[in-house]
């Protein structure tokens, strides 16, 4: 039944004037990419167990705040964040093995929400199981399934928000991961064709869930049910929003604004297009020029939003993630470091057997 359409497509393709091959160009570009490529590899482990300072990871004295007193689990989570290495997820003072492949992690105030499934692709069918790993290392399964949707969380809130189809439209669901109970479900409508997910991807900040539709992003107040467009949002993109800040990616620049639209920081060294990544606490932003190759334009840069202080990120820098309180997580040799982002004053958190296995939560991988 599709023969005619298929034939027309093939006829059109056959008539094309194909430009000459430039294999050397592709080869050169590919060599450049090799230097930057970082991938998120799913972790697999055998069972849910809690390990303390074992399993190939040496927890250092840096976990003690004054050399003698161990940080509380909550403080260690805030300051040292979550990272994965040597087959385990490390949170605060604990190491945890999860009996499934972890394909995404999300910071919340109650701990980190871990998304697991049969593959490393977090949007593949069956990849939407959620568990909460608390700062003390305890693990509990959460009720919601997130098949083919992208949620939003915030490290200062125990909530996870996501959208899902409902009736002829959608609803924004807000779930408390601490109590494993639904807090709110707010219906909303609007065209959504741009992203390919089952429902619009969302961000969470305070009382608002931001849902990215075709023509605008909706700010949905989940407490009151009030819905209004995010002023200035063009739609058809997943807005980068964290802690009441919005990194507005425009052609040729990135503008960090308050959610009321007040500009806080403008970065113009973005090349044709810059991708912005806010730290979970909204204090910092990484701007990564969308380039296929290093050297084609300005390097990635890190900016402190309040002061405007910044530094360039070397191509070799990374993997590189965030802690809930805005420390930068990075790797030096086989040491996992927690650093102040701009001044790079670092504390060693742990030593790992296999540095190549390290994956940082909320990470920037440089490509």
């Amino acid at each position: 039944m599709t023969d005619r359409l298929s034939q027309l497509l093939h006829d059109e393709a056959d008539r094309l004037d194909v430009p000459p091959v430039a294999a050397d160009v592709a080869l050169g570009r590919g060599r450049g990419m090799r230097r930057r490529r970082r991938t998120f590899t799913a972790l697999a482990a055998a069972a849910v167990v809690v390990l303390l300072g074992t399993g190939g990871v040496v927890v250092t004295e840096a976990l003690r705040d004054d050399g003698t007193t161990r940080l509380s689990d909550a403080a260690a989570y805030e300051q040292h964040g979550v990272w994965m290495a040597d087959g385990a997820l490390h949170i605060g003072n604990s190491s945890v093995e999860i009996d499934a492949k972890i394909n995404a992690v999300y910071y919340t105030a109650a701990g980190v929400v871990v998304r697991t499934g049969p593959t490393g692709d977090h949007t593949s069918p069956g990849a939407g199981y959620l568990s909460l790993v608390r700062p003390d290392g305890s693990v509990s399964r959460l009720s919601p399934r997130l098949d083919d949707v992208e949620p939003g969380t915030s490290p200062d809130s125990p909530l996870i928000a996501f959208a899902r189809p409902a009736g002829s439209g959608f609803e924004a669901v807000v779930w408390d991961v601490d109590t494993n109970r639904k807090v709110a479900a707010v219906p909303f409508d609007g065209a959504f064709t741009w992203g390919g997910w089952a429902a619009p991807p969302v961000s969470l900040s305070g009382a608002h869930v931001f849902a990215s539709l075709d023509h605008h992003t909706l700010a949905i107040n989940w407490r009151t049910g009030a819905i209004e467009p995010l002023a200035g949002s063009p739609g058809s993109r997943w807005e980068e929003i964290a802690a009441d800040s919005w990194a507005d990616e425009e052609s040729g620049r990135v503008v960090v604004r308050t959610l009321d639209g007040e500009p806080l920081l403008t970065v113009t060294e973005t090349g044709d297009w810059g991708e912005a990544l806010l730290s979970p606490d909204g204090r910092y932003v990484i701007v990564q020029p969308e380039l296929e190759l290093p050297g084609d334009g300005p390097p990635a840069s890190l900016h402190e939003i309040a002061t405007g202080d910044s530094r360039q990120l070397a191509d070799t820098e990374g993997p590189w993630g965030w802690t809930p309180d805005g420390h930068a997580l990075t790797l030096s040799g086989n040491e996992v470091l927690s650093c102040t982002a701009i001044t790079q004053d670092c504390t060693t958190i742990a030593e790992v057997d296999d540095p190549s296995s390290v994956r940082m939560a909320d990470a920037y991988y440089g490509s």
């Binding site: 599709t2 359409l5 393709a13 294999a23 592709a26 590919g30 089952a198 297009w273 190759l293």
Partner: protein, 172 residues
Amino acid sequence: MPRTPTDGEFTEFAHASWASLYRTAYLLLGDAAEAEDLVQTALAKTYAAWPKVRDVQAAPGYARTVLVNTASSWFRRKSWRNERPTEAVPDVGHEPDLSSRPALMSALAALPPRQRAVIVLRFYEDLSVAQAASALDVSEGTVKSQTSDALARLRTLLGEAVVPHTLGATND
């Protein structure tokens, strides 16, 4: 133990794959320069993963997947949607003259990028719903609904002769 393919083998592979990849890229994007850039990007990414390629015979499939994934990421950019020229194709009340080449390309241009990609993958690349879903990194349900929507739009633009009304009714 399998060895890593050489740069020479990559060059040979690039020459062999170029035309086919370009044709798919052009149908996806509708612009010669962008199609060439997409193919270059897909080949470069394939080369970046070349050490992991253990069987050169698998490289064409890998490159095609990378090409579609890259196009898919481009579609998600704000700039892609907002800065693309809009080719407004009026609904026609009669069967269009399909001997005229622009008819098909104009109709494709009238589709949102994801719907266009679904049409190209399913009816040019002859992928199944599951394969198209995997290539676009979306659910099978999304592929089905976008196929249905795209065919309905193409039926309006190209006529019943090209897209019979029964198509898309079952979404598979």
